[in-house]
């Protein structure tokens, strides 16, 4: 892996391709989970890939490459949420968060539908924390690095998110 990173830093295209193919799915899941829109998530992933290649020389190896690159995906998604998209207005996340393609949804699972809707209603930081901690299964430290905040902030944010999820899921049922 380290050799691949070094080769990609030197500009070797095969190494860059290997890294992108390895990271495209985690990036896409993260962007789709945060943005809730397939097209926006695709654009965000491509932007993430460009920034990843541009900033690869800054990767020091303090964390996993995937964790570090998820931080880029989170930053790109934050920017996409802030910038008004074509079609007007701020982006409203009201699409299903985890799986947008209806064919990939779990049929008849009302709880999953409820979780998607409730997750989409969470504040951005809480949604980031839930996805990183429970869906990507990163540690608190790794989540903090990806989010660019302190570990205590991650713990507090996750605590608030779980409380909000519990309350909203009760209302749903």
């Amino acid at each position: 892996m380290d050799r691949t990173i070094e080769a990609a830093r030197r500009g070797e295209r095969d190494a860059q391709s290997r890294l992108l193919r390895q990271l495209q799915d985690p990036w896409y899941r993260m962007c789709l989970g945060l943005l809730g829109d397939v097209e926006m998530a695709r654009e965000a992933v491509q932007e993430t890939a460009l920034r990843f290649l541009q900033n690869l020389h800054k990767f020091r190896g303090d964390s996993q490459l995937q964790t570090w690159s998820l931080g880029i995906a989170i930053n790109v998604s934050r920017e996409f949420r802030r910038v008004p998209r074509a079609g007007g207005g701020e982006q409203e996340i009201n699409e299903p968060v985890m799986v947008d393609d209806p064919a990939e949804r779990i049929d008849g699972d009302e709880q999953q539908d409820a979780l998607r809707v409730v997750l989409a209603q969470l504040p951005d930081r809480q949604r980031e924390a839930v996805i990183l901690r429970f869906f990507e299964q990163l540690s608190v430290e790794e989540s903090a690095k990806a989010m660019g905040c302190a570990t205590g902030t991650v713990k507090a944010t996750v605590h608030q998110a779980l409380r909000a999820l519990r309350e909203k899921l009760k209302q749903w049922t």
Partner: protein, 139 residues
């Protein structure tokens, strides 16, 4: 709490099934040259630009040849081309007027520079004054 955990767990399973629908490497790197070629290509481009800039002033200036014949302009009969191009004559000053005053006029003639004699001042010799007054009293 348990129900929430189960819900989140099943949500994670669904989350992990999501795949990027395209080939990201082909999309991003498809039209992208390897960085190895960037510096040599940039150097060649810079050298070509330097050659062009160096040779540019040595190019002979050539006037463009019109492909179409130039339309001729006919002038009226009473105007010859020379009269059209003739400049009006410069205004003439009348004779006898100098543009610059002569140098004598700027300064008086040497003979006219007679200064009056310096005024005389009384002498500050008190002894001579006293002696004069004594003489007058004696008279």
């Amino acid at each position: 709490m348990r129900q929430l955990r189960q819900t989140v767990e099943r949500g994670r399973e669904a989350y992990q099934t999501v795949r990027y629908p395209d080939d990201l490497a082909a999309q991003v790197l498809g039209g992208r040259r390897s960085w190895r070629w960037v510096l040599p290509m940039g150097g060649l481009a810079a050298a070509a630009a330097a050659v062009v800039i160096t040779l540019w002033p040595q190019r002979p200036v050539s006037t463009p040849r019109p492909s179409q014949p130039i339309a001729t302009v006919t002038t009226p009969a009473h105007q010859t081309p020379d009269s059209l191009l003739a400049m009006p004559s410069m205004p003439q000053l009348p004779d006898g007027i100098d543009l610059m005053p002569k140098y004598q006029a700027l300064s008086p003639r040497l003979g006219a520079m007679n200064f009056p004699s310096y005024p005389g001042f009384p002498s500050r010799d008190f002894e001579s004054v006293q002696s004069t007054s004594t003489t007058r009293e004696a008279v």
